[in-house]
Symmetry: C2
Subunit: 342 residues, 2 copies
């Protein structure tokens, strides 16, 4: 425990030069200021001493922690680990480390964890917790580079990486219509969430383009949960027995809808077809395997990280960038032609 780690000074002593020169030699951005031969000697000495720069020291001096706050609702929601991996992998390659926090979808918790990330002096934020109308996001984005993923705000004034909801929902509707369904319902996500909102809009447009009615066939849940969807779907199916198919705003809601159908003796897919959204892990082995819209989770995270890194690089306010990735339909067992043509 005499000496914990070797420092710049140790390397300098070994090479016989000043620590400042070592610093310059080791930093790619400044190494052109020092004689290539010296750089080589420094590199060798640093390697031989196992020198690793102390990020707290450099961070103190440069006021950059090389750390990114990543705020997600809940890591145990299988939608997010893939995105987090995408973020981690991309940030790591650029020398940044993500600091991960959960909010449990509670705005108060969110305010708290964001504050603690600021206390940690993160250099930027990736947020998966945007609400359509977000309280402190504006203030945050004035002080830090911010990228939203998955969800966005109403105003669209922040850089974001999302999927093309319109396209995804259209794929699901087209698929069901192609199977012969006409009476198709939508179980929408919470109204405060952009994904819920946009998918509902996308649903009614897609239906309209097929000349189909959505009257009394659209409902929204309070929370992205199986239970919430079960109740909502049950009420809808009871009120509208003609419904033969449900487009759910995400996989959890689809599971809830299937469960509601089961409780009403509507077996899926014979009596009721259901589609999900996201294609979370294991959706291929539930009963029945879920037809769903797959979003490229890893890519969303990776794109978001790239976007944030570019914001970090050119401080210049380039125009706000929105990246939209394209989802694809995964056809499985939860959809089939309706029992009787309508």
């Amino acid at each position: 425990m005499t000496r914990v780690a070797t420092t710049l000074k140790d390397v300098a002593k070994l090479v016989g030069i000043h620590p400042a020169t070592v610093s310059r030699a080791l930093n790619p951005r400044t190494s052109h200021l020092v004689n290539p031969a010296t750089v080589a000697r420094v590199r060798k000495a640093a390697a031989s001493l196992n020198y690793v720069p102390n990020p707290m020291a450099s961070g103190l001096r440069t006021a950059r922690s090389h750390t990114i706050g990543v705020v997600i609702p809940d890591l145990t929601n299988p939608l997010f680990p893939g995105m987090v991996r995408g973020i981690q992998d991309t940030l790591a390659r650029a020398g940044y480390t993500p600091l991960l926090v959960n909010t449990d979808n509670d705005p108060e918790v969110e305010a708290h964890v964001v504050a603690s990330l600021r206390a940690r002096r993160v250099d930027g934020f990736i947020l998966a917790t945007a609400r359509r109308d977000h309280p402190f996001l504006l203030e945050l984005s004035e002080k830090f580079p911010v990228v939203l993923i998955n969800r966005v705000t109403e105003s669209g004034q922040f850089p974001s990486v999302t999927t093309d909801e319109m396209h995804g929902i259209r794929l699901a509707v087209d698929h069901l219509v192609g199977l012969g369904h006409r009476a198709i319902a939508h179980i929408g996500g919470p109204a405060w969430s952009s994904t819920g909102h946009e998918r509902a809009q996308a649903f009614s447009r897609a239906m309209k383009s097929h000349g189909l009615s959505t009257a009394r066939r659209m409902a929204a849940v309070d929370a992205w949960s199986v239970e919430s969807a079960r109740e909502t779907a049950r009420a809808l199916l009871v009120a509208q027995p003609a419904i033969t198919a449900i487009v759910a705003a995400n996989d959890l809601l689809a599971l809830g809808a299937m469960s509601a159908g089961r409780s009403l003796k509507l077996r899926c897919p014979r009596a009721l077809s259901v589609t999900g959204y996201n294609d979370m892990p294991f959706m291929d082995i539930v009963d029945p395997p879920l037809t769903t819209v797959r979003v490229p989770q890893h890519d969303i995270g990776a794109e978001a990280a790239r976007l944030l890194l570019s914001l970090l690089r050119d401080d210049a306010q380039s125009p706000v960038k929105h990246v939209r990735l394209t989802p694809e339909l995964i056809e499985r067992g939860s959809t089939a032609p309706p029992l009787r043509g309508d």
Copy 2:
């Protein structure tokens, strides 16, 4: 962008005292050295200025980053997010931040990410990647507090938090025997993993205690994956058609076993009962719902964090502590009495 954040000096100026005194006043460990009245004034001033200490500065001085390296195989494996949440929640309350990395079960990647965590000057490690015989763990644990979760090493010389595998597997075996099964097989985990090893051992002991044979009824996979289990289980079922039940070493392997059974026209649970281990999310909605041994994921993480924090506190080498949590059996639809009594 004139002034990024307020510092100790700002607070000191406002109160009219020396920064050192402010530091002492704000630090609970040293505030007894300062006049209570002064402490109060300092607190008020700090609050009014929104003062937040700079962790890089204090970290530089104290050589502690208040940061913990958390090394897991793969965040997208649903077993881990729960543990990570447990770790995060507990560490956060103590003012520590986890730095999360994945290894994809690759020892080389692990060496690399551990090195990068050391570069970040983490104060300790929580590792979910132990192999029975682990290369650099000893060296690491000499320099840092280390706690293992989920898996342990052969030698058992490192603090750890695990579940009682013996008990968990016994629950599964007892359950199947109680249903009337006699020809019970085991699909074991990879041999390099302590969980795989211990569960296999537990299985043969539990069977023995019932007076049942395990001869030619135990196999092990190469990797914790559905595919690997599918092949292994299929071979086993073909070679030993008398088998009526399978105890899998984890849920993924159980899913693989069920899939293998299906491909051999052995419907689960009528012709083949299967149990899993871990009770990952969604195991209640797969087809059929999986009977499995639930491990308290959040608690494992929380216990590990607590254990590490206590190691961080008393540097004194207290005896190596092993925490064992008790799993419970969750009975669902994948197990039933055998078709014909054996």
